[in-house]
Symmetry: C2
Subunit: 227 residues, 2 copies
Protein backbone atom coordinates (compact mmCIF):
# COMPACT_ATOMS: atom_id res chain seq x y z
CA UNK A 1 0.00 0.00 0.00
CA UNK A 2 1.12 3.52 -0.64
CA UNK A 3 1.46 5.86 2.30
CA UNK A 4 -1.64 7.61 3.48
CA UNK A 5 -1.64 11.32 2.69
CA UNK A 6 -0.57 13.51 5.58
CA UNK A 7 -3.52 15.84 5.99
CA UNK A 8 -5.71 16.36 2.98
CA UNK A 9 -5.12 15.01 -0.49
CA UNK A 10 -4.95 17.61 -3.23
CA UNK A 11 -6.37 16.99 -6.69
CA UNK A 12 -2.90 16.24 -8.01
CA UNK A 13 -2.25 13.78 -5.22
CA UNK A 14 -5.41 11.89 -6.07
CA UNK A 15 -4.56 11.93 -9.77
CA UNK A 16 -1.09 10.56 -9.08
CA UNK A 17 -2.46 7.83 -6.84
CA UNK A 18 -4.98 6.80 -9.47
CA UNK A 19 -2.31 6.90 -12.18
CA UNK A 20 -0.10 4.60 -10.11
CA UNK A 21 -2.99 2.22 -9.55
CA UNK A 22 -3.74 2.15 -13.27
CA UNK A 23 -0.08 1.65 -14.13
CA UNK A 24 0.17 -1.25 -11.69
CA UNK A 25 -2.97 -2.94 -13.03
CA UNK A 26 -4.77 -2.57 -9.73
CA UNK A 27 -7.45 -0.74 -11.70
CA UNK A 28 -8.16 -2.78 -14.82
CA UNK A 29 -9.44 -1.13 -18.00
CA UNK A 30 -13.16 -0.43 -17.84
CA UNK A 31 -13.31 -0.01 -14.06
CA UNK A 32 -15.97 2.44 -12.99
CA UNK A 33 -14.52 5.37 -11.07
CA UNK A 34 -17.49 6.67 -9.10
CA UNK A 35 -17.07 10.15 -7.73
CA UNK A 36 -18.80 9.57 -4.40
CA UNK A 37 -16.86 6.36 -3.92
CA UNK A 38 -13.52 8.02 -4.58
CA UNK A 39 -14.37 11.05 -2.47
CA UNK A 40 -15.07 8.73 0.44
CA UNK A 41 -11.90 6.70 -0.13
CA UNK A 42 -9.59 9.69 -0.25
CA UNK A 43 -11.54 11.77 2.25
CA UNK A 44 -11.94 14.77 -0.01
CA UNK A 45 -14.88 16.48 -1.61
CA UNK A 46 -16.22 15.54 -4.99
CA UNK A 47 -14.85 18.77 -6.45
CA UNK A 48 -11.27 17.60 -6.10
CA UNK A 49 -12.12 14.13 -7.35
CA UNK A 50 -13.64 15.65 -10.45
CA UNK A 51 -10.52 17.72 -11.05
CA UNK A 52 -8.35 14.64 -10.70
CA UNK A 53 -10.52 12.63 -13.08
CA UNK A 54 -10.44 15.48 -15.55
CA UNK A 55 -6.66 15.51 -15.45
CA UNK A 56 -6.52 11.77 -16.13
CA UNK A 57 -9.07 12.19 -18.89
CA UNK A 58 -6.81 14.70 -20.62
CA UNK A 59 -4.02 12.14 -20.45
CA UNK A 60 -6.35 9.57 -22.03
CA UNK A 61 -6.13 7.32 -19.00
CA UNK A 62 -9.82 7.54 -18.16
CA UNK A 63 -12.77 8.02 -20.48
CA UNK A 64 -15.73 10.15 -19.56
CA UNK A 65 -19.22 9.13 -20.60
CA UNK A 66 -21.78 11.86 -20.32
CA UNK A 67 -24.02 11.41 -17.30
CA UNK A 68 -22.51 7.96 -16.83
CA UNK A 69 -19.26 8.77 -15.12
CA UNK A 70 -15.57 8.07 -15.54
CA UNK A 71 -14.07 4.71 -16.42
CA UNK A 72 -10.51 3.48 -16.73
CA UNK A 73 -9.75 3.79 -20.44
CA UNK A 74 -9.95 0.83 -22.79
CA UNK A 75 -7.62 1.66 -25.67
CA UNK A 76 -8.75 0.27 -29.00
CA UNK A 77 -6.48 -1.76 -31.24
CA UNK A 78 -6.02 1.33 -33.34
CA UNK A 79 -5.00 3.42 -30.34
CA UNK A 80 -2.63 0.68 -29.27
CA UNK A 81 -0.84 0.78 -32.60
CA UNK A 82 -0.73 4.56 -32.49
CA UNK A 83 0.74 4.67 -29.01
CA UNK A 84 3.57 2.36 -29.92
CA UNK A 85 4.11 4.21 -33.19
CA UNK A 86 4.59 7.41 -31.21
CA UNK A 87 6.91 5.67 -28.78
CA UNK A 88 8.92 4.27 -31.68
CA UNK A 89 9.48 7.80 -32.94
CA UNK A 90 10.38 9.32 -29.58
CA UNK A 91 12.22 6.81 -27.45
CA UNK A 92 15.06 5.41 -29.59
CA UNK A 93 16.63 8.77 -30.31
CA UNK A 94 15.93 9.89 -26.76
CA UNK A 95 17.88 6.83 -25.60
CA UNK A 96 20.75 7.96 -27.81
CA UNK A 97 20.66 11.41 -26.22
CA UNK A 98 20.55 9.83 -22.77
CA UNK A 99 23.63 7.75 -23.57
CA UNK A 100 25.52 10.94 -24.31
CA UNK A 101 24.68 12.51 -20.95
CA UNK A 102 24.90 9.31 -18.94
CA UNK A 103 26.91 9.52 -15.72
CA UNK A 104 28.02 6.61 -13.57
CA UNK A 105 25.41 7.59 -11.02
CA UNK A 106 22.75 7.37 -13.69
CA UNK A 107 23.86 3.90 -14.69
CA UNK A 108 23.75 2.59 -11.12
CA UNK A 109 20.35 4.20 -10.62
CA UNK A 110 19.01 2.49 -13.71
CA UNK A 111 20.52 -0.79 -12.56
CA UNK A 112 18.82 -0.39 -9.20
CA UNK A 113 15.60 0.15 -11.07
CA UNK A 114 15.99 -3.15 -12.87
CA UNK A 115 16.89 -4.93 -9.66
CA UNK A 116 13.75 -3.63 -8.01
CA UNK A 117 11.75 -4.79 -11.00
CA UNK A 118 13.19 -8.29 -10.76
CA UNK A 119 12.57 -8.39 -7.03
CA UNK A 120 8.95 -7.42 -7.53
CA UNK A 121 8.60 -10.04 -10.25
CA UNK A 122 9.95 -12.79 -7.99
CA UNK A 123 7.73 -11.59 -5.14
CA UNK A 124 4.74 -12.17 -7.36
CA UNK A 125 3.95 -8.47 -7.54
CA UNK A 126 3.35 -8.56 -11.24
CA UNK A 127 1.70 -5.18 -11.58
CA UNK A 128 4.38 -3.41 -9.62
CA UNK A 129 7.05 -5.02 -11.78
CA UNK A 130 5.30 -3.75 -14.89
CA UNK A 131 5.08 -0.30 -13.40
CA UNK A 132 8.79 -0.26 -12.60
CA UNK A 133 9.52 -1.52 -16.08
CA UNK A 134 7.60 1.42 -17.47
CA UNK A 135 9.36 3.90 -15.25
CA UNK A 136 12.63 2.65 -16.65
CA UNK A 137 11.62 4.18 -19.97
CA UNK A 138 10.55 7.42 -18.30
CA UNK A 139 13.83 7.61 -16.43
CA UNK A 140 15.73 7.48 -19.70
CA UNK A 141 13.89 10.55 -20.96
CA UNK A 142 14.71 12.28 -17.69
CA UNK A 143 18.39 11.45 -18.05
CA UNK A 144 18.26 12.81 -21.59
CA UNK A 145 17.26 16.05 -19.87
CA UNK A 146 14.15 16.47 -21.98
CA UNK A 147 11.30 17.16 -19.59
CA UNK A 148 8.80 17.79 -22.38
CA UNK A 149 9.53 14.46 -24.02
CA UNK A 150 9.52 12.91 -20.56
CA UNK A 151 5.97 14.09 -19.97
CA UNK A 152 4.84 12.73 -23.32
CA UNK A 153 6.61 9.42 -22.78
CA UNK A 154 5.10 9.09 -19.30
CA UNK A 155 1.65 9.45 -20.75
CA UNK A 156 2.39 6.92 -23.50
CA UNK A 157 3.95 4.47 -21.05
CA UNK A 158 0.94 4.41 -18.76
CA UNK A 159 -1.36 4.03 -21.74
CA UNK A 160 0.87 1.16 -22.80
CA UNK A 161 0.18 -0.45 -19.45
CA UNK A 162 -3.52 -0.37 -20.24
CA UNK A 163 -2.81 -1.78 -23.69
CA UNK A 164 -0.80 -4.61 -22.17
CA UNK A 165 -3.64 -5.35 -19.79
CA UNK A 166 -6.00 -5.73 -22.73
CA UNK A 167 -3.92 -7.29 -25.48
CA UNK A 168 -1.11 -9.20 -23.82
CA UNK A 169 -0.58 -12.72 -25.12
CA UNK A 170 0.73 -15.28 -22.70
CA UNK A 171 3.92 -16.27 -24.48
CA UNK A 172 7.29 -14.66 -23.87
CA UNK A 173 7.07 -14.20 -20.13
CA UNK A 174 10.36 -12.59 -19.20
CA UNK A 175 10.30 -10.22 -22.13
CA UNK A 176 11.70 -7.17 -20.45
CA UNK A 177 14.59 -8.28 -18.37
CA UNK A 178 17.09 -8.94 -21.13
CA UNK A 179 16.16 -5.93 -23.21
CA UNK A 180 16.59 -3.50 -20.33
CA UNK A 181 19.81 -5.20 -19.27
CA UNK A 182 21.25 -4.87 -22.74
CA UNK A 183 20.23 -1.21 -22.78
CA UNK A 184 22.11 -0.60 -19.56
CA UNK A 185 25.22 -2.18 -21.04
CA UNK A 186 24.98 0.19 -24.00
CA UNK A 187 24.50 3.12 -21.62
CA UNK A 188 27.48 2.07 -19.52
CA UNK A 189 29.56 1.95 -22.70
CA UNK A 190 28.17 5.36 -23.75
CA UNK A 191 27.25 3.74 -27.06
CA UNK A 192 24.44 6.01 -28.24
CA UNK A 193 23.96 4.32 -31.59
CA UNK A 194 23.63 0.92 -29.95
CA UNK A 195 21.21 2.27 -27.34
CA UNK A 196 19.05 3.73 -30.08
CA UNK A 197 19.07 0.45 -31.96
CA UNK A 198 18.28 -1.59 -28.86
CA UNK A 199 15.42 0.66 -27.86
CA UNK A 200 13.90 0.48 -31.32
CA UNK A 201 14.06 -3.29 -31.26
CA UNK A 202 12.74 -3.43 -27.71
CA UNK A 203 9.65 -1.44 -28.66
CA UNK A 204 9.15 -3.56 -31.74
CA UNK A 205 9.33 -6.69 -29.61
CA UNK A 206 6.76 -5.21 -27.28
CA UNK A 207 4.29 -4.61 -30.10
CA UNK A 208 4.77 -8.07 -31.56
CA UNK A 209 4.11 -9.60 -28.14
CA UNK A 210 0.60 -8.12 -28.29
CA UNK A 211 -2.42 -9.58 -29.99
CA UNK A 212 -3.65 -6.68 -32.10
CA UNK A 213 -5.42 -8.62 -34.83
CA UNK A 214 -8.97 -7.46 -34.18
CA UNK A 215 -10.95 -5.90 -31.41
CA UNK A 216 -11.12 -8.10 -28.32
CA UNK A 217 -13.09 -7.38 -25.17
CA UNK A 218 -14.35 -4.20 -26.75
CA UNK A 219 -17.95 -3.13 -27.39
CA UNK A 220 -19.09 -5.43 -30.14
CA UNK A 221 -16.96 -8.33 -29.00
CA UNK A 222 -20.12 -10.11 -27.93
CA UNK A 223 -21.09 -10.85 -31.49
CA UNK A 224 -17.64 -12.20 -32.24
CA UNK A 225 -17.59 -14.30 -29.08
CA UNK A 226 -20.98 -15.86 -29.63
CA UNK A 227 -21.04 -16.07 -33.43
Amino acid sequence: MTHVQARTATAETVAEALERAIHEHRLPPGTKLGEDELSEIYGVSRTRIRAALQALSHRRLVEHQRNRGAFVAQPTVREAREVFEARALLEPRTARSAAMRMSDAHVTALQAHIDAEHAALHAGENGRALSLSGEFHIEIARIADQSTIEAIVRQLVVRSSLIIALYWRRRSALCESHAHGALIDAFAARDGALAEELMAHHLLDLVTSLDLRNQSSQPGSLRAALG
Copy 2:
Protein backbone atom coordinates in the same frame (compact mmCIF):
# COMPACT_ATOMS: atom_id res chain seq x y z
CA MET B 1 -14.47 36.88 -35.86
CA THR B 2 -15.44 33.31 -35.11
CA HIS B 3 -19.10 32.41 -34.99
CA VAL B 4 -20.93 32.99 -31.78
CA GLN B 5 -21.88 29.78 -29.98
CA ALA B 6 -25.45 28.68 -30.61
CA ARG B 7 -26.86 28.53 -27.12
CA THR B 8 -24.41 27.96 -24.30
CA ALA B 9 -20.71 27.39 -24.65
CA THR B 10 -19.44 24.14 -23.18
CA ALA B 11 -16.11 23.92 -21.41
CA GLU B 12 -14.52 22.40 -24.50
CA THR B 13 -15.89 25.19 -26.67
CA VAL B 14 -14.32 27.78 -24.42
CA ALA B 15 -11.03 25.88 -24.36
CA GLU B 16 -10.96 25.68 -28.16
CA ALA B 17 -11.74 29.37 -28.51
CA LEU B 18 -8.95 30.25 -26.10
CA GLU B 19 -6.56 27.89 -27.84
CA ARG B 20 -7.33 29.55 -31.18
CA ALA B 21 -6.78 32.97 -29.67
CA ILE B 22 -3.46 31.87 -28.24
CA HIS B 23 -2.43 30.26 -31.49
CA GLU B 24 -3.27 33.43 -33.41
CA HIS B 25 -1.35 35.67 -30.99
CA ARG B 26 -4.47 37.50 -29.96
CA LEU B 27 -3.58 36.48 -26.41
CA PRO B 28 0.13 37.16 -25.91
CA PRO B 29 2.20 35.16 -23.42
CA GLY B 30 1.66 36.34 -19.86
CA THR B 31 -1.87 37.61 -20.40
CA LYS B 32 -3.98 37.28 -17.28
CA LEU B 33 -6.99 35.08 -17.81
CA GLY B 34 -9.37 36.17 -15.07
CA GLU B 35 -12.19 33.76 -14.37
CA ASP B 36 -14.88 36.35 -13.78
CA GLU B 37 -13.83 38.23 -16.89
CA LEU B 38 -13.97 35.11 -19.06
CA SER B 39 -17.24 33.95 -17.57
CA GLU B 40 -18.78 37.29 -18.52
CA ILE B 41 -17.28 37.24 -22.02
CA TYR B 42 -18.54 33.77 -22.85
CA GLY B 43 -21.73 34.01 -20.84
CA VAL B 44 -21.10 30.89 -18.80
CA SER B 45 -20.49 30.27 -15.14
CA ARG B 46 -17.05 30.19 -13.59
CA THR B 47 -17.26 26.43 -13.23
CA ARG B 48 -16.94 25.89 -16.97
CA ILE B 49 -14.27 28.53 -17.30
CA ARG B 50 -12.24 26.75 -14.66
CA ALA B 51 -12.62 23.45 -16.48
CA ALA B 52 -11.48 25.06 -19.72
CA LEU B 53 -8.47 26.68 -18.06
CA GLN B 54 -7.57 23.37 -16.45
CA ALA B 55 -7.62 21.69 -19.85
CA LEU B 56 -5.32 24.33 -21.30
CA SER B 57 -3.10 24.06 -18.26
CA HIS B 58 -2.66 20.34 -18.88
CA ARG B 59 -1.61 21.16 -22.43
CA ARG B 60 0.94 23.64 -21.02
CA LEU B 61 -0.73 26.54 -22.80
CA VAL B 62 -1.61 28.36 -19.60
CA GLU B 63 0.19 28.39 -16.28
CA HIS B 64 -1.64 28.39 -13.00
CA GLN B 65 -0.31 30.35 -10.05
CA ARG B 66 -1.83 29.46 -6.73
CA ASN B 67 -4.35 32.06 -5.61
CA ARG B 68 -3.16 34.30 -8.41
CA GLY B 69 -5.00 32.87 -11.35
CA ALA B 70 -4.27 31.61 -14.84
CA PHE B 71 -1.93 33.25 -17.32
CA VAL B 72 -1.05 32.49 -20.91
CA ALA B 73 2.11 30.42 -20.66
CA GLN B 74 5.55 31.92 -21.16
CA PRO B 75 7.77 29.05 -22.29
CA THR B 76 11.36 29.35 -21.14
CA VAL B 77 14.30 29.03 -23.48
CA ARG B 78 14.77 25.52 -22.19
CA GLU B 79 11.16 24.59 -22.90
CA ALA B 80 11.47 26.13 -26.36
CA ARG B 81 14.42 23.89 -27.19
CA GLU B 82 12.60 20.87 -25.78
CA VAL B 83 9.44 21.52 -27.78
CA PHE B 84 11.35 21.70 -31.04
CA GLU B 85 13.42 18.67 -30.09
CA ALA B 86 10.19 16.70 -29.65
CA ARG B 87 8.84 18.00 -32.93
CA ALA B 88 12.07 17.03 -34.66
CA LEU B 89 11.59 13.47 -33.48
CA LEU B 90 7.92 13.21 -34.38
CA GLU B 91 7.19 15.21 -37.47
CA PRO B 92 9.74 14.17 -40.10
CA ARG B 93 8.87 10.50 -40.00
CA THR B 94 5.19 11.36 -39.70
CA ALA B 95 5.58 13.36 -42.90
CA ARG B 96 7.04 10.29 -44.51
CA SER B 97 4.06 8.22 -43.40
CA ALA B 98 1.72 10.91 -44.69
CA ALA B 99 3.40 10.83 -48.08
CA MET B 100 2.62 7.13 -48.32
CA ARG B 101 -1.08 7.64 -47.67
CA MET B 102 -1.42 10.88 -49.59
CA SER B 103 -4.36 11.09 -52.00
CA ASP B 104 -4.93 13.75 -54.62
CA ALA B 105 -7.68 15.19 -52.43
CA HIS B 106 -5.22 15.50 -49.59
CA VAL B 107 -2.75 17.35 -51.77
CA THR B 108 -5.32 19.87 -52.96
CA ALA B 109 -6.54 20.35 -49.38
CA LEU B 110 -3.01 21.08 -48.23
CA GLN B 111 -2.52 23.46 -51.13
CA ALA B 112 -5.73 25.26 -50.19
CA HIS B 113 -4.33 25.55 -46.68
CA ILE B 114 -1.22 27.27 -47.99
CA ASP B 115 -3.25 29.57 -50.20
CA ALA B 116 -5.35 30.62 -47.22
CA GLU B 117 -2.17 31.25 -45.27
CA HIS B 118 -0.79 33.48 -48.03
CA ALA B 119 -4.08 35.32 -48.30
CA ALA B 120 -4.08 36.00 -44.57
CA LEU B 121 -0.49 37.17 -44.75
CA HIS B 122 -1.25 39.64 -47.55
CA ALA B 123 -4.34 40.83 -45.69
CA GLY B 124 -2.11 41.76 -42.79
CA GLU B 125 -3.65 39.11 -40.54
CA ASN B 126 -0.32 37.98 -39.26
CA GLY B 127 -1.57 35.90 -36.36
CA ARG B 128 -4.10 34.08 -38.47
CA ALA B 129 -1.41 33.27 -41.01
CA LEU B 130 0.77 31.82 -38.29
CA SER B 131 -2.13 29.76 -37.02
CA LEU B 132 -2.84 28.36 -40.48
CA SER B 133 0.84 27.64 -40.88
CA GLY B 134 0.73 25.62 -37.69
CA GLU B 135 -2.37 23.74 -38.72
CA PHE B 136 -0.54 22.67 -41.84
CA HIS B 137 1.71 20.58 -39.62
CA ILE B 138 -1.25 19.18 -37.72
CA GLU B 139 -2.98 18.29 -40.97
CA ILE B 140 0.01 16.20 -42.00
CA ALA B 141 -0.29 14.11 -38.87
CA ARG B 142 -3.98 13.67 -39.60
CA ILE B 143 -3.25 12.50 -43.13
CA ALA B 144 -0.73 10.06 -41.71
CA ASP B 145 -3.75 8.63 -39.87
CA GLN B 146 -2.08 8.88 -36.49
CA SER B 147 -4.55 10.58 -34.18
CA THR B 148 -2.36 10.10 -31.10
CA ILE B 149 0.61 11.75 -32.75
CA GLU B 150 -1.76 14.38 -34.10
CA ALA B 151 -2.86 15.31 -30.59
CA ILE B 152 0.74 15.56 -29.42
CA VAL B 153 1.79 17.59 -32.45
CA ARG B 154 -1.16 19.92 -32.00
CA GLN B 155 -0.05 20.62 -28.45
CA LEU B 156 3.53 21.21 -29.55
CA VAL B 157 2.50 23.43 -32.44
CA VAL B 158 0.45 25.77 -30.29
CA ARG B 159 3.25 25.90 -27.76
CA SER B 160 5.54 26.74 -30.67
CA SER B 161 3.27 29.68 -31.42
CA LEU B 162 3.91 30.97 -27.91
CA ILE B 163 7.62 30.40 -28.37
CA ILE B 164 7.59 32.35 -31.63
CA ALA B 165 5.76 35.18 -29.90
CA LEU B 166 8.53 35.35 -27.33
CA TYR B 167 11.71 34.56 -29.21
CA TRP B 168 11.14 35.46 -32.85
CA ARG B 169 13.89 37.49 -34.46
CA ARG B 170 12.87 39.90 -37.17
CA ARG B 171 14.94 38.56 -40.04
CA SER B 172 13.71 36.00 -42.56
CA ALA B 173 10.16 37.22 -42.93
CA LEU B 174 8.61 34.80 -45.41
CA CYS B 175 10.15 31.78 -43.79
CA GLU B 176 7.32 29.36 -44.13
CA SER B 177 6.02 29.77 -47.62
CA HIS B 178 8.77 28.04 -49.50
CA ALA B 179 9.25 25.24 -47.02
CA HIS B 180 5.59 24.26 -47.05
CA GLY B 181 5.44 24.58 -50.83
CA ALA B 182 8.40 22.25 -51.22
CA LEU B 183 6.76 19.81 -48.86
CA ILE B 184 3.63 19.77 -50.97
CA ASP B 185 5.70 19.01 -54.05
CA ALA B 186 7.24 16.05 -52.24
CA PHE B 187 3.79 14.90 -51.15
CA ALA B 188 2.42 15.21 -54.67
CA ALA B 189 5.31 13.06 -55.89
CA ARG B 190 4.69 10.58 -53.06
CA ASP B 191 8.36 10.94 -52.18
CA GLY B 192 8.34 9.97 -48.51
CA ALA B 193 12.10 10.17 -48.06
CA LEU B 194 12.18 13.68 -49.47
CA ALA B 195 9.23 14.77 -47.34
CA GLU B 196 10.99 13.49 -44.23
CA GLU B 197 14.15 15.34 -45.17
CA LEU B 198 12.33 18.55 -45.97
CA MET B 199 10.37 18.48 -42.73
CA ALA B 200 13.52 17.91 -40.70
CA HIS B 201 15.20 20.88 -42.37
CA HIS B 202 12.10 23.00 -42.02
CA LEU B 203 12.00 22.45 -38.26
CA LEU B 204 15.72 23.13 -38.00
CA ASP B 205 15.25 26.39 -39.88
CA LEU B 206 12.47 27.32 -37.49
CA VAL B 207 14.69 26.84 -34.47
CA THR B 208 17.57 28.78 -35.95
CA SER B 209 15.21 31.67 -36.71
CA LEU B 210 14.64 32.03 -32.97
CA ASP B 211 16.78 33.89 -30.49
CA LEU B 212 17.31 31.32 -27.76
CA ARG B 213 20.56 32.64 -26.33
CA ASN B 214 19.37 33.58 -22.87
CA GLN B 215 16.13 34.34 -21.12
CA SER B 216 14.36 37.39 -22.54
CA SER B 217 11.10 38.89 -21.33
CA GLN B 218 10.96 36.37 -18.53
CA PRO B 219 10.53 36.98 -14.81
CA GLY B 220 13.68 38.82 -13.90
CA SER B 221 13.85 40.56 -17.24
CA LEU B 222 12.92 43.78 -15.50
CA ARG B 223 16.37 44.05 -13.99
CA ALA B 224 17.98 43.31 -17.34
CA ALA B 225 15.79 45.79 -19.18
CA LEU B 226 16.39 48.61 -16.73
CA GLY B 227 19.98 47.90 -15.73
